[in-house]
């Protein structure tokens, strides 16, 4: 049991990686599409929103991984 819970604890932060990437893209695309509908600027805001969503998705992906790697390094040293 201790082994099971410790592995769950280690895997915890990574559980959200994929979903975060998808959620960022979805929010970006949704925002761009909605604004396009409202302002009648098809398709430019949709494209800009997608680019922003994909960019921020990758940004958060690497941010989380870097944070975890730094934490793991610190854990090794102490």
């Amino acid at each position: 049991m201790p082994r099971f819970s410790s592995s769950l604890r280690q895997v915890g932060p990574y559980l959200n990686l994929g979903a975060m990437l998808a959620a960022c893209v979805a929010i970006g695309v949704g925002l761009g599409y909605g604004l396009d509908e409202k302002l009648g600027t098809h398709p430019w805001l949709l494209l800009a929103g997608s680019a922003l969503g994909i960019g921020s998705g990758f940004y958060h992906f690497f941010k989380t991984i870097n944070q975890q790697l730094r934490k793991a390094d610190k854990g090794d040293e102490s």
Partner: protein, 257 residues
């Protein structure tokens, strides 16, 4: 009977009981809103009622070495405090947020398990319910961040240190998207997982009608297997929702950045 688990209808037990109609209906921002009892609302009220009864029972028989239901609840609460809260944030903060995490965990767990009872309904298999849960988690995460860093400090934290000034506005947008994407992911994950299990069972049973009596044995066998898997998923999803909420709070209240 299975489709009843997936839908949100204003009736109970396969339309045998009709719930009292909408108490309030109004238009807001061009959307027609009706507030009243539906199947999922009844299920959530039932979950809340069960949890209150559980709380009273546990409170009455409090003892140094708990027995029966007290023992069961203590095991869960200790797991949440030590393995979820204390593992993701500093000890002092962990005690502060354990109560919220326990509430989330038990409510989602009971809702998930109620959804596995025949003639029941999966409240957590409704996007509106999981969105409200994620909204509560979102408010708690923001509150935790603002309490730790102060309101101004929290908004300053949206621009990571060492970013050139011309990138700062873009970083604010990107970070804000992350802030909203976290609860969005929580909400969709719980919803999709609870819905998917029921949908798989429905498809397997549907195969019997499509293919004929040949499919009866494999379909029922797989259906029972998926049902057992769903009991595991009910616990796992409650755990994951709680764990991730705790991780997000932990990221904001951690002493070092």
């Amino acid at each position: 009977m299975i489709t009843d688990h997936l839908q949100d209808t204003p009736s109970l037990f396969g339309h045998a009981i009709h719930l009292p109609g909408p108490f309030l209906s109004f238009d807001i921002l061009g959307i027609h809103v009706e507030i009243g009892l539906t199947q999922n609302v009844v299920m959530m009220l039932m979950a809340a009622f069960l949890l209150i009864i559980m709380g009273i029972l546990v409170r009455r028989r409090i003892a140094l070495v708990p027995k029966g239901i007290g023992n069961l609840v203590e095991a869960f609460v200790l797991f949440i405090r030590d393995e979820i809260a204390a593992a993701t944030m500093p000890a002092r903060e962990a005690f502060r947020y354990t109560s919220f995490l326990c509430t989330t965990f038990f409510f989602i767990l009971v809702c998930n398990l109620l959804g596995l009872i025949p003639y029941g309904a999966t409240a957590t298999g409704n996007l509106a319910v999981t969105a409200s849960l994620a909204f509560a988690a979102f408010l708690m995460i923001q509150y935790a961040g603002m309490r730790k860093m102060g309101v101004l400090g929290y908004f300053r934290h949206l621009v990571p240190p060492g970013v050139p000034w011309w990138l700062a506005p873009l970083m604010v947008v990107v970070e804000l998207m992350g802030v909203f994407a976290k609860p969005f992911a929580l909400c969709v994950r719980l919803f999709a997982n609870m819905l998917a299990g029921h949908a798989v069972i429905l498809s397997l049973i549907g195969l019997i009608f499509l293919v004929g009596w040949l499919m009866v044995v494999p379909s029922v066998a797989f259906g029972v297997f998926i049902y057992c898997l769903e009991i595991f998923v009910a616990f796992l999803q409650a755990y994951i929702f709680t764990m991730l909420t705790s991780v997000f709070i932990g990221l904001l209240v951690a002493d070092t950045h």
